[in-house]
Amino acid sequence: MAVVFDKPHALADMPMHYCPGCTHGIIHRLVAEVIDELGIEGRTIGIAPVGCSVMAYDYFNCDMIEAAHGRAPAVATGVKRADPDKHVVFTYQGDGDLASIGMAETVHAAARNENITVIFVNNAIYGMTGGQMAPTSLPGQVTQTSPYGRDTKHCGFPIRVCEMLSELEGPEYLERVTVNSVANIRKAKKAIKKAFQNQLDGKGFSLVEVVSTCPTNWGMTPQDALKWLEENMLPYYPLGVYKDRSAEEGDK
């Protein structure tokens, strides 16, 4: 019998601290599978964020660095520029890290078309700190700090990161995917692989936004959370490719 599915080599063999049903585990695995398939484990350096995935450095077998909150793209810039031909650099960030405190670093790394790969996990809430409203929380969404639902008159509107960055000239590749079903997991892996391949080809800033769940802080079972994601998050955060400069230039 042949093994058709097992833990990828680039993922460390240790239990993850994530809550039951948290999709972080799936996204970690997809990144590790891509690292395996491209054969780049020995030259990959990951930058871990602050947030639920703060301990991502324990879960990957490649080298990892822990950045200050939100500063992963800035740290990635330094690591990449130190030896651009050797290092393959990715950041793994949540929405509180990337879209809130780290927004400046994200936007400027994209504007500079820094040759790095960014994996952006958007679950519309601050997970690690206990479920407060995030910049990506949906209008009307109940969180610890918006118990009557997010009031857009008082708190403004959630930020669509892919759409916002797509207005910049800089970035090479922006795509939004999700992991709520096997079909979508396959698509997400394809997008993550392309984001790494772009870096190997020297094309520039590639960001994959993964629409994700937080069953614990949303107050749902993992199954209900996936359903809620499909019914509420996907209409506000539509899936798709928001920028693919090489493909656009190829068309001309």
Binding site: M1, V4, P15, V182, P222
Partner: protein, 68 residues
């Protein structure tokens, strides 16, 4: 003929694999508790499994190894 192997003590009992199985062959063992205190996933009918690996793809914790 396919074979599923579970790292039972890694299972957090989230049930995503149970829902992912197109043939509904998985369940959270009602009479077992693992080291973490969860009811771990198990297969009810190994012979009926075709090894599509949908369960393993949905599992956030790499609990399931699939051979075919």
């Amino acid at each position: 003929m396919a074979k599923l192997t579970f790292k039972t003590d890694r299972c957090k009992g989230c049930g995503l694999c149970v829902n992912a199985c197109p043939k509904k062959l998985l369940q959270l063992a009602p009479d077992k508790i693992n080291k973490k205190g969860h009811h771990p996933a198990e297969i009810t009918d190994q012979d009926a499994c075709v090894g599509c690996a949908a369960c393993a793809m949905m599992c956030p914790d790499c609990v399931i190894k699939v051979e075919r």
